[in-house]
């Protein structure tokens, strides 16, 4: 398997783990204790803001571990170049990710237009962010396998 494909798979697994563990943490610590908190905009603001540094730090730690393990197992060094094909695949992946997120954003807005509770908006936004990341990774793997 190509090195970049491995990196993408590591990112996908990391993101899934982060999302599941973070959701469980937030649910058990806040929502299970006080269910009314889901209608509090401050709670959602904090939940989203804390998720960003948590994701960044966790991804960095997982990448470092991945590079060390990969070096030990395969004796490969860090990739020296990001060439035109990598950049093109990156752009195509981001484009798909944006489309998926825009669709999720529309769904989130529609939920409010149809009079659903505000927490539905945040859950859909949260979910669409996650699904768009998955879609980007899967699309990139497909492009790498397909050649372009």
């Amino acid at each position: 398997m190509y090195r970049r494909e491995k990196e993408i798979i590591v990112t996908l697994i990391s993101m899934t783990l982060i999302m599941v563990l973070y959701s469980l943490y937030v649910y058990n610590k806040y929502i299970a204790v006080n269910p009314e908190v889901i209608n509090d905009f401050r709670f959602w603001g904090k939940a989203f803001l804390i998720l960003i540094p948590v994701t960044i730090v966790t991804i960095i730690i997982i990448y470092i571990i991945f590079f060390i393990i990969n070096k030990i197992v395969t004796n490969e060094d860090l990739p020296q170049v990001t060439d035109e094909r990598d950049r093109m695949i990156e752009l195509k992946g981001i484009r798909i990710s944006h489309w998926v997120f825009v669709f999720g954003f529309m769904l989130a807005m529609a939920s409010q237009a149809f009079g659903l509770k505000p927490w539905v908006l945040f859950v859909v936004l949260f979910g669409s962010g996650f699904v768009s990341t998955l879609a980007e990774g899967i699309a990139k793997i497909c492009y790498y396998r397909k050649g372009y």
């Binding site: 190509y2 970049r4 990739p79 170049v81 060439d83 035109e84 094909r85 990598d86 790498y144 397909k146 050649g147 372009y148």
Partner: protein, 71 residues
């Protein structure tokens, strides 16, 4: 306008140039080996810049490396 195809002779040229490896060609053109593999297999069409860099490595005109034809 018909369907276009671009074929290449990179594999032949590599062998006629002291059996140059894909990795050596990749290093000389500043791309990854996977990109060279994709080009050789006709799965990826390089930019004009990379096409010229490849032809320069083999010291041959661009048309001898890549062939364009349409149905």
């Amino acid at each position: 306008m018909g369907k276009c195809f671009i074929s290449n002779n990179i594999r032949k040229l590599r062998f006629s140039n002291d059996e140059m490896t894909q990795q050596e060609l990749a290093d000389k053109t500043s791309v990854t080996r996977q990109t060279i593999v994709a080009i050789e297999n006709g799965k990826y069409f390089p930019t004009l810049e990379l096409a010229f860099r490849i032809s320069r490595v083999f010291k041959t005109p661009l048309e001898e490396v890549f062939t364009f034809y349409e149905e």
